[in-house]
């Protein structure tokens, strides 16, 4: 279970005379184990800030975040992150990138070949394990990022607009692919996106945020039955959710 308790984040004033920014304010949210939870909201409303605080990269200036029984104070391998821009290490091959978490954890760069090869296969990356990231397409790079995040068996997976930079077709392939993965290992997912269709299609729950300073505007439990397919987004139920969410977003935009 992940719990945001009245979390606030203020970025300090800059030395060049920029005002302090209150990025997030009074943000409270509870995510159950194994839940797929999406956050949508206008650009700049603090979505990345929220994810970074949960990951432990930033500390809240108010409130706290509790994961299981512990308050989050620093990053940890049980909460892995997939960034929007593939953050692969360009000097490592695909298989070394995928195994990076194991290398760090076991202080041993060799000896995980079996796990890595299994992951490579699962991710449809067979034949590319000795390639470097710059030799892969955007979608494949993002699959490597996901593989790297999953290989340490995290209890939660934090994804910050992971498919935002992909073209529509690749994006839809990746959504399907992510659902498959999630079905098998069922980590808790916090998924950030600005694409309402994507949020509804993937999630158990969609959280809509207000513009900055970001708070929860409204939450929607998505009760579309699983497994969901590409044509789920054409069902009347889906469209009803979409209409509700869009209307909250418009209202908030003023």
């Amino acid at each position: 279970m992940i719990q945001f308790e009245d979390v606030g984040k203020m970025y300090p004033a800059t030395s060049k005379g920029g005002e302090p920014t209150i990025a997030v304010q009074e943000f409270s949210l509870r995510i159950e184990d194994g839940e797929f939870c999406s956050i949508v909201g206008p650009s700049g409303c603090g979505k990345t800030t929220i994810l970074n605080m949960l990951a432990g990269f930033e500390t809240p200036t108010r409130g706290q975040i509790v994961v299981g029984d512990d308050v989050v104070t620093k990053p940890g391998p049980e909460r892995t992150v997939v960034f929007q821009r593939p953050s692969l290490l360009p000097w490592m091959t695909v298989s070394d990138n995928i195994g990076f978490g194991l290398t760090i954890r076991d202080k041993n760069p060799k000896g995980h070949q079996q796990e890595i090869m299994q992951m490579v296969e699962e991710m449809g990356l067979s034949g590319f394990e000795s390639h470097f990231p710059y030799q892969l397409s955007g979608g494949m790079q993002q699959r490597v990022s996901i593989a790297r995040a999953l290989i340490t068996d995290p209890t939660s997976l934090l994804m910050d607009e992971p498919f935002g930079a992909l073209d529509a077709q690749t994006r839809s392939d990746m959504q399907r692919f992510l659902l498959e993965l999630w079905k098998t290992s069922q980590p808790t997912v916090l998924f950030i996106t600005h694409d309402v269709d994507e949020a509804i299609l993937l999630s158990d729950r969609v959280v809509v945020m207000t513009p900055r300073p970001g708070m929860v505007a409204e939450e929607f439990s998505i009760e579309l039955k699983r497994p969901r397919k590409w044509d789920s987004i054409l069902s009347t139920e889906f469209l009803r959710y979409k209409k509700q969410i869009l209307s909250v977003l418009r209202q908030e935009a003023g």
Binding site: K74, P75, V81, S87, L89, I104, R105, R148
Partner: protein, 283 residues
């Protein structure tokens, strides 16, 4: 007729490194890379020969390439003022190699340390910034006064004129590490050493290489200047002394050897760079 679009295709692919996977297309368009530099050098030689043959400049001031080649043979076999070309070259090269290698070995760790530890930066930066803009010739008299005119002062000079470049490039390489890459390692619980080994060091390598290439050029400038003033052998000394006796052919020989050595070192660093940072410019 041939295929006029063949080369265009290669150029377009060249501009898109992400798409450059089709090696056969790439290489067939790049055949010219093997011979164009040689043609350019040959044309330069011919122009030189023509200018010299037409006596546009006095033959003493501008010997022809053929004359220079004779001087080259003479300095290589008989020597100039008791020093063969090989010994002059080896002395200069040795001074550079030792001084520059020391600067790299000491400079890279200092640069990394300054970039990661604030108090180290605060202590070293003033000295570095103070030393950097001073032309080495300004402190050459001091080095000569303290260390004489043997090998040690030259090595020290090379060391001091190249180490700021190495330190600054290493430092900026470390500072330029992408935040997300560090975060990935933090996420998995990397300790300081692992962070350095797997993220910071490889990120910084491209800039370190750039610094080394600039450093080599500066090293030659410093060395030749120093040899012109306070030395009794080495290429700089040979050039200065031959110039004084109007043996311009020998001056050319010296210049050409320095140029070729510099070029050779650049090629060496490039090869090393390709091996160690194949991803440069693509990530």
């Amino acid at each position: 007729m041939g295929y006029p679009w063949g080369n265009q295709k290669a150029e377009i692919i060249d501009e898109m490194p992400m798409a450059a996977t089709d090696m056969t297309i790439m290489e067939s368009g790049r055949n010219y890379r093997g011979y164009v530099p040689w043609i350019a050098a040959l044309v330069a030689l011919i122009v030189w020969e023509v200018v010299a043959a037409l006596h546009l400049v006095s033959a003493v001031a501008l010997p022809s390439p053929v004359q220079v080649f004779r001087d080259l043979i003479a300095t290589a076999t008989v020597g100039y003022s008791g020093q063969t070309l090989l010994s002059s070259t080896l002395f200069s090269f040795g001074r550079i190699a030792v001084g520059f290698a020391l600067a790299v070995l000491v400079g890279i760790p200092i640069g990394f340390w300054m970039a990661t530890t604030d108090w180290v930066f605060l202590i070293i930066d003033p000295f570095l910034q103070f030393l950097r803009p001073i032309p080495p010739l300004a402190y050459l008299p001091l080095i000569v006064a303290w260390f004489g005119i043997g090998e040690l002062p030259k090595v020290i000079l090379i060391f001091f004129c190249t180490i700021p470049i190495v330190i600054i490039s290493a430092m900026s390489g470390v500072k330029g590490v992408q935040e997300n890459r560090k975060r990935v390692a933090e996420c998995f619980g990397a300790n300081r050493w692992q962070m350095f080994r797997y993220v910071i060091l490889p990120s910084a390598l491209p800039e370190v290489f750039t610094g080394m290439r600039v450093g080599i050029g500066v090293a030659w400038t410093c060395l030749v200047a120093a040899e012109m003033i306070a030395a009794s052998r080495g290429l700089g000394w040979m050039i200065m002394s031959a110039g004084g006796q109007l043996q311009i052919g020998v001056v050319f020989v010296g210049i050409i050897i320095i140029g070729l050595l510099g070029y050779g070192m650049e090629l060496g660093i490039r090869t090393l760079e390709k091996k160690m940072v194949p991803w440069k410019g693509r990530a």
